[in-house]
Symmetry: C2
Subunit: 660 residues, 2 copies
């Protein structure tokens, strides 16, 4: 154990294990997670060479091998709880996506939710047994987030009782679905349904893609891998061009919508059921943002405790770089953010389960709010976490660029969440739509409830406080007063956005143009709304903590999170009259003090995330802090070192001398 | 040609070609650049398969091949002007680093600058003829930016008249030098010189690493590649562990410092000569920031002109995504930034050449200012450009993640500039040191000249204007008044940082602790200083433009750049009393109008950067806008599509069915 890092652990002011239980959601959950992780990590079938040393094809192959073994073992051990499956899977693939993700996460669930009972009989058992390996083919080259624009067609032919599927344009080629390129032999294809000469919009069809014997593509199916990407080497994201591919009528998923033998179409009763899946995935991503940022912080903070560089006081030797104020200022607010997002992720999970409970009893009343919240928070958290991971990486200096740090991999694995499952700017604008609608309702005298209740007139507009009278309101040491400040900022920015739309309309532009011409303000309002929600939830979570030491350190983190946001967005708070210039200076001062206060607990706070070395897979983030020896050892195993002399020397460098 | 993009070009308000000349620095330079690019691009020796489809070893090999051919051809064509060599090289390697970079850019120049005449005779010709291939081994595993901490030792042994080189610790292993891993057979090694029992600090030694016949490592030399990284696949960044490696006395570079046969040490007359190289490289990086961001903007803006998605007005079909205000707000300020940095790069280049002229005549007076400016601007521009590239990438939606967009590659190729040649935070603090020193001089009554003259008392402190009387000062449509606002912001923040140090000292901490405890404020002050310089230089450049149409569009860009900075840092301007809340709202309004104004010129403005398709190598950024067809074609060539069925199917997926 590196003595610097041991000393850090001795100096911690709280019990790390207790905080881990809180993060996991209870001691029992921690225990079970550790059991599952040990099961995987000790399993020789899940070992492989360092993925950084493999080619993309080898990485794909290693992932297929592990996924296949994972399925056998999950059944052998009888692990069937979704959370436990998720934990096992994350451990097998070290948090990466894998080729069977969409089979397990989309194909099987969609069958269960949208197939008629007869269809379940036909398709589910073969899919469960991996004879059918499926993916979910929605996105096309020309359309992602805007689903209505999808161009793939499924035209019903009553003569043969078949659907004829086509990719009528280049841009209609299915593009991006995971596992589509090489792994799957079936896909649920989203296509515009045409029957009796009329288009009925998007519906889902089960399309066989490859022979179940030879795995060769079937006639009319042009399928393959979309090529190398920013990360995601393990996944064969694919393309699919359909050329008059005929499938039986029964391959349209018919639990809700139907096409009869003669081509008569029956529309589904309601859309909100599929809506739920989207909300679920986006809520999950919020937790993933917390997880990814936690990993990056763990690596950067542990490394900053063992890296010594330069000097602060002459003659006193090189300090740990964690002693530099600038390093603390980079890392501690991100650490606070990681905690915030972990707690918000827990909250979203709980709310989702509560609301799906309500929905199963026919109560959809809370869905719009949850939908708006999950869209905005997905965007808010993924943007911050992504840029935060890069800050952590760069805080490790040159070594942060080495694959052995794991930080490049964490970034490229996480950053796609900004784009998939709803492009972030589009998400922010969806939330804004809900906020503006709520604001208008409130202005019209309706009383809002739930998270947007702050938009009720009485909550902010009827309090014409002056800056000076708010002096006590924004008290840097009072978390609740900061929550209040965030709330008022959100209210002010929602109002500004609504006014912008109003002003645009007065210049006699259409509603749609007014919306577009105000979208900068709308995104800003959504952002402020999400920020308020996160600060509020973090503060609420801290309020629940009973252990005094843990409560104390989490309070400090929550204060830091809130104050950092205020200094970063100080213009909003000043412009809205929520803070005076001297108060802002005070906030900056307090923030510096909080950095000092957190310094002794920094390593313990990342230890509490409880990432095993095998999961982090980072030389810089090793628990024992023995970085340099292991970096050297890692480098020596690098593929370019398999021979002392690279063949290019004989081919090009040696002959060059003769030519000069 | 895609009709959408043709139409964009028809709508442009200015002559693209004229702007290209301005960016190149004159019509003659544009012509010569194009000649050189054609020479390379039409040369069959410089073709290769898409690098995205190669393994790292193959990419390294392709780079070695091209570098070897490049050297032969540069000599054949007699290209010897440094700028032209740089242009040729950038074109051969498409802007990427390559294995011979340090041989050409550091080893040869260091020999010329620091070797004695006899040493030049001994080493230069073999190195010129690539018998000696050298690199520059400075950074160690444990030390980067902090040079004094380097641990490698060179101990003089008068008995044999040799230096004995050692890596005394694991952390002293040389780490990161480009070309060190597999390519070089020599290195200039920076080591602590010990002679007659005394350490004389860092000196440079020529150390043979590999046999000049077999290329095998020599005894005592442990050398290899440091393994895969975030990008830089072509470069064999290496490690070097020296175990009692003996080199002749004459292998210490002795133009300035000397060790006599008996071990007597003579110290060099002054340090400032090597200082100059650092300043030069950092100044160059500022231009590189402009270039990298220009590429990213070209790709994102062209793609946004051909990508149609969703709808603004119902029934009017899908708009070009460039018509969304949020998309303009992401891309146009970055476009303005790219222009700003291109111009600042030109300026830094000119200043560097002017000052080196002065220095060669013994006048070092301007060096400290240039040193401070290059350090800060290097950090300021690389941070913004890096995050800007990612914004451009994400503005392309899912396809921005595909390697065919080239955006992932542009990011990983550029982002290391934030860390190498001086870690950015350290750079900002170096600039801050100069600013604080200047501020103190001004406070003590000295009259400052040059770029920091705004710190003179009379310039800002003796103007106790109230916000309201500044109403005309900050006029969103008057670029000069915005330059003034940035100047006052910088002055205010430098003063705040100086006050913070003062306050810390009053709490009776040491100078060093006071500095560290104020470093957040110091970085902020440096940032504001650099921002002011960029706005000022951009405005000055615009003032020089004679063509009215080009002048007009560049004025709009400069205004956008300045206003965007103000809205992003509105808290500073409000807190310093430089702007009132209503003025800030007005700035946001003006900014929106500028987006609308720039919309018709956006494509023409990126066309003016004049990147050939072969240089951009981006399917999304194609000049003709025919994105989708070429994306499909590119994907089909991807390595995973070489066979219809991947071998992992037979190995793992097919057998899996039997196990379930």
């Amino acid at each position: 154990m590196n003595p610097d890092i041991s000393k850090e652990r001795e100096n911690a002011t709280f019990n790390v294990e207790k905080l881990t239980y809180i993060l996991d959601g209870g001691i029992e959950k921690t225990k079970r997670r550790r059991e599952i992780q040990s099961l995987v990590i000790s399993d020789p079938d899940f070992q492989s060479e360092d993925l950084n040393f493999l080619t993309r094809s080898e990485r794909y192959e290693a992932a297929v091998r592990k996924s296949a073994q994972m399925i056998v073992k999950l059944r052998k051990y009888g692990i069937s709880d979704p959370e436990e499956i998720y934990c096992y899977k994350s451990c097998v693939h070290r948090g990466r996506s894998e080729p069977l993700d969409l089979h397990l996460g989309m194909f099987l669930p969609t069958l269960l939710n949208q197939a008629s009972p007869e269809q379940v009989d036909t398709f589910f058992i073969p899919a469960w047994n991996l004879e059918i390996i499926g993916t979910y083919a929605q996105t096309e080259m020309g359309h992602g987030t805007h689903l209505r624009g999808l161009e793939t067609t499924a035209t019903y032919d009553p003569a043969t009782q078949e659907f004829v599927l086509n990719s009528p344009t280049v841009s209609s080629i299915k593009w991006w679905p995971g596992g589509l390129g090489k792994t799957s032999n079936h896909a649920i294809v989203l296509a515009q349904l045409y029957t009796q000469g009329k288009c009925h919009g998007l519906h889902a069809f089960i399309v066989p893609l490859r022979s179940m014997n030879t795995h060769m593509p079937l006639p009319g199916v042009v399928v393959g891998d979309i090529g190398p990407k920013f990360g995601f080497d393990e996944v064969d994201n694919g393309y699919l061009k359909l050329e008059n591919v005929r499938i039986p009528r029964n391959n349209m998923l018919m639990k809700y919508a139907k096409v009869d033998a003669d081509g008569t179409y029956t529309k589904p009763p309601r859309d909100k059921l599929t809506y739920g899946t989207m909300v679920f995935i986006r809520s999950m991503i919020v937790g993933e943002a917390g997880l990814a940022l936690s990993k990056a912080c763990t690596i950067a903070i542990r490394y900053s405790a063992v890296r010594r560089q330069s000097e602060i006081r002459p003659g006193e030797g090189e300090p740990q770089i964690l002693d530099y104020q600038t390093q603390q200022y980079k890392l501690f607010p991100l650490l606070a953010t990681a905690y915030a997002y972990n707690f918000v992720g827990q909250y979203m999970n709980q709310v989702y389960h509560r609301i799906t409970g309500d929905m199963s009893q026919g109560d959809f009343s809370e869905l719009p709010e949850l939908h708006a919240l999950s869209a905005g928070l997905k965007a808010f958290t993924t943007w911050t976490a992504s840029s935060g991971i890069e800050v952590c990486r760069m805080a490790c200096g040159g070594h942060g660029y080495s694959s052995c740090s794991a930080l490049p991999d964490i970034y490229v694995t996480f950053v796609p969440t900004c784009t998939y499952e709803g492009e972030n700017t589009v998400m922010m604008l969806q939330t804004a739509r809900f906020l503006i609608k709520s604001y208008r309702q409130a202005s019209a005298g309706h009383r809002l409830s739930g998270i947007v209740s702050y938009l009720n007139e009485s909550e902010f507009r009827l309090q014409p406080q002056t800056v000076s009278s708010r002096a006590t309101l924004v008290n840097g040491n009072n978390l609740q007063s900061l929550v209040e400040a965030y709330k008022l900022r959100a209210a002010w920015l929602v109002e500004q956005a609504a006014k912008s739309i109003q002003q645009e309309l007065q210049r006699s532009v259409s509603q749609e143009d007014a919306w577009n011409n105000s979208s900068i303000d709308l995104v800003r309002a959504s952002d402020a709304h999400c920020h308020y929600v996160v600060v509020k939830l973090f503060a609420a979570k801290v309020g629940e903590i009973e252990d005094p030491a843990v409560h104390s350190v989490l309070s400090t983190l929550a204060l830091l999170y809130a104050l950092q946001g205020i200094t970063q967005h100080s213009g909003d708070f000043l412009q809205a009259g929520l803070l005076s210039a001297p108060q802002l200076s005070q906030a900056s001062q307090t923030l510096k003090q909080l950095l000092v206060q957190l310094r002794p607990d920094a390593v313990a706070l990342v230890d509490a995330f409880d990432f095993r070395d095998e999961m982090l897979n980072s030389v810089l983030g090793r628990y024992d802090g023995n970085v340099y020896e292991h970096m050297f050892e890692w480098a020596r195993r690098s593929p370019l070192n398999k021979t002392e002399v690279h063949e290019s020397y004989h081919k090009y460098l040696k002959p060059l001398q003769a030519k000069l």
